[in-house]
Amino acid sequence: MEYEKVYMFQPANDRPAKRRRIEPQGLQTSWKQRRLAFDRDWSIPQRAIDARLHSINASTVDKVWTYLNLALKPDQPSTIRTGIILTGADGATEAGISKKIAEKFRVGKHRRILVPLSSSSGSNIKVLLKTLIQKAISPKFESSDNDLDDDDGELRTTRTKGHKLLNYDLQLLYDHVREHKKEQVIVALEDTEAFDSDLLSEFIELLGCWQDRIPFTCLLNVATSIESLQQRLSKAAIRVLDGKVFDVAPSSDEVEQVCEALFNSGTPLWIGSSLMSTALERQHDYIQSIDSFVKAVKYACMSAFYANALSVHLNISIEHEVIAADHFEALRQLDSFRTYSRRLLDNNEVKLLTTYLESDEALRALVSGRIAEGRQKLGVMIHVLKVIRLLQQKLPNTQVTPLSSLYVQALSGKLNGSPLLRSLLLTIRKVPSNIAASVLRALQLYHLDNRDLLVDMQPVLFRLDSLIDAQRETSTKPLRSEDDIHNSTLRTTVVAQKVELSKQKSALSEQDRKYTELLVSLSDCLGEFFEETLVDPADLVFHEIFVYDLKSPYREVFTPRPRHACERALATPHDYLDCDCCSSQQDGGNAEATLAATQPATAVLYQLYLESGSLINASDLWHAFQAVLGDGKEDAETMALFQRALAEMRYLGMMKSTRKRMDHVAKVMWHGL
């Protein structure tokens, strides 16, 4: 089969040995259960994220859609109605808007054609037009032509009557439009920047020429700015366009939205801070579409369920009898359980501990309880993060921290007592009453939405509220806080030729003083609240089960280093093969790879290759190779290995032939670059 081009795979039935089913062993036995747990648990955040993604640009899509509808009745037939969609930097990776519009197309019943074109559709005007016509006329492509007039379904690029036209003649499209009574041909350019500017201008001008016969409408995805688009187009092309700009949510916004949706969904598995920050960083540093972020989150969840056997305990509905005994044994090995046991011992609760150590059932109950508790605590934490953001929004001169970065800080256990929180509390002490009132209102609202979250704070809030209300009746000036520096003046006095600085509190009313007291207690209250709720996840018992924080599979799976892997395999084959013969360690700890006849032939050749310059003499290479490998072998055998190694190196893309000199090969890759 290896020389077939394409074939259907048929399992070799005659080899029963190969078909032997390998029964899972050890902790892997619970994989089926975990699989079920994953299916159930991931579906919740998945749905939440999908819904959020769907709604992110819904308004923009609606606007574009209305615009397209409007364009059906052109008021100026000489110009092309054009929707310019400002996508931001990740426009190329994300055909979001046009995809959503295409979806809209699929549902409705109308007489329109949507033709998505990308820069790869054609590099010159003929090819581009050809693609346009083909895509527009091809019955199955994107056009929601539900009332198929032509049931033959055949691509018709040739005319039945009249003389034959070239396949890039827009007359073909015109015939098609007239025949099927199409009302609109929407040309969506997915990556406007990638088009050659001359080509783009020419294309638009040409569409403009046909505008009186074919009802074109354009959608341009612009990643840079309108100005640069304008510069790139010719004057004639600009004259033809009649544009309207639509904004799309920037990608950082999308990430925030997805994060929020994820945290709100009550996900059973929380992603730890280091993994989350890696994913966010990658998202931020490289222009990635939001999909890749969702993918990363999903993959994290997948690896947690796949590789962490203890995640079987996440499914609370499973009876403890179903779970194999070694899973409980594994639970008892967890670090967090050990600290917990230590605590129990310190509290002289030996009996309780013994039951946990001896009874699986008791342990199971403990696990379920603790996981539920831990999840609940993390859920509260998200609320606290939102409260922090709320306060930041209301307070003057404070930047609102993105939820994702707050989350990363909180999950690393560093948010509590961080400078961010301290300065926030200090600011609260200083606010005048008009701002305090809005803060209060926001807190109250939040409290109403999420019951018993801020319950401890209620008395303080209530007293503050009444005080502010009372003040509002008597005077229009807001109450001021003592701590506000605006209310104190600095005085300089010269006493005995020394300048003395003294802070003078300006006269504060009785009410101001009371207000200040209340503010202090409010900030104390908030401080306590933060202290209490912002727990370090690492302190939670069994956090290993419901917080997943491993970077390694994420990094290797999404950002691999294939070149490094290959080079390493060839430069130090021992790293992979782990054989006794090629180990370089045994002779004096010299870690650097040395040539040895026992190494694979390609590895030997590669190491010789590394030493050479950009042109390699094949004959010399052969002699060197022979000197290493040819020990006690026939020339022909060594030559066979040499030829194979050469061929492999060429296949891997490390060498190429050169015409500069006879019997030389050119080196293409340098190690470690």
Partner: protein
Amino acid sequence: MPKRKLDAGSQVAESSAPKKTRVNGNEDSPAATSAVLDTPSKQRSILKGTPKKFGGIFNGEETPRSQRKVLFTTPSKPDEIEGPPESTTTLTTARNDRSARRKSARLLLEKTTLDNASEDDELAADDAIAREILNSSDSEEVEEDGFDALSTIDNIPIPDAPDTPSKRGRGRPRIHPRERKRSPTPPQDLPPHELYFHQNKPGGQKISSNTLPSHLLLNHEDYLVQIGGWQDSHQVERDWLQRLHARAFEQWVFELEQGFNICLYGYGSKRELVNNFLEQLCAESGTDQPKIIVVNGYTPSLTLPIILRTIASAIVPKNALSTLPNQPEALLAALLSHLTSSTPANKIHLVVHSIDAPRARLSQMQSALSRLASHPSVSVLATADTLTFPLLWDASTRQQFRWLFHDATTFAPFTAEIDVVEEVNGLLGRGGRRGMGGKDGVRYVLKSLTENARGLFRILVSEQLAAADSSSPAHDEDALSSEDEEMFEEVETPSKRARKAKPKPKRPKVRRTEVQEGVEYRTAYHKAVEDFACSNEIAFRTLLKEFHDHQMVESRKDALGTERLVVPFRREELETLLEELV
């Protein structure tokens, strides 16, 4: 001659006893001498050039020299220096010997091919010298080995090839392989970028002009015999690696089910691994067999329509097959919409071996594959072999692929992926184009052709050889050589020219036109008619067509637009071919 070399060798051994890297005593000497002598010779050539321009006096003997910079030049004084002066008893002389040998071989051949019956005394004398030199070649080989052994024992790089891994003689006493020191040619412990610049230093490289004798390279049969009999000492470890990867099969299944696609990378063929995976996939799914379409990306004649057709035959009911469009783009769209409208119960598995092989690399193929991969009911498992495969995909294609990458280094040989003999022939520029089977292929084709066809081919080959002989000496060094030799000007070229008894008068004007090779179409036709290989042009064309089909002959247009027929082989291969044909 050999004696002199030995001297040089011992000189080397003495002079570079202290640790010296790369540049050592005896290598300096040719450079130094040339540096000294360089200037006057240049000046002279300028002076020579000027009067000629104005006066138009042309001296047939002293041909104007090319203006190109020669990196390592020894003064060329054709009439003064008979042999290299004693002081420069270095490698240059050794090379000169070798080129002299080549020259003599050519001379001999010239005689046989042209059937030149002229009993010119001079030629006969040349002939005698040539034979002598040729005969001495064997002994020289031995001496060379002795020389190498000498130098390597003292752990000195061969000055001959400073940049290529140093070669060692066959006969030297063996040290234990593990204790063998690497040649210190590249300075040790350079960071990768420094090493790159070190190895790409401007000022040219010094590379030896050794050639790999054709008879050393194995042909298909011999190669298969040798590789078949060869035992890999790492078989156990390789099996262990396979088992290691096989433990991840369950994970792969899970990942594929979750809508990701998998790309395996790492050194070694991953075919067997993937096939094992597929076996297990089938075994586990029991009665409800998944549909698996395997694409062998490395097959040289793979095209997109073939892939799409196979997929279509797998998923589209038979009666609807004929209604599918023919163009790949439309077919793909039809397939995707079919998958959307009637979603299959199981995912379609698309397995692509070597997704980065030359044929599969085409952008059309990749974009089609990515569109298939992005469909929810298709899952893709691909393997990639080259080091730079991630560059295949731009951001949007990559996103469509939804890859998860796994390192699957197997160290398994690429038996199916590579045709080793072909690859090596292509790499070393032997045996013409790919797919022709090299010299052996030609021999095979000729066997099945008529006597007349063989006759015509013989004419073409001999004419081409004759034409090559009459063109420049620098050129006959390499029949395929291109003009951009600037950087890698051969070290011995000028001095070789110096040793030429008769400078070819054609040389001056044809620096550009000497790229011409092969035989003019008209000439070939007339020759063929004279030799009764064909009687009219139609027959001639028919015969040529056969050669064209097997890529034994290429036709090119030269600068003037006349058609030339070229047999795309290296000189020595042409020679052996001719020997067999005559």
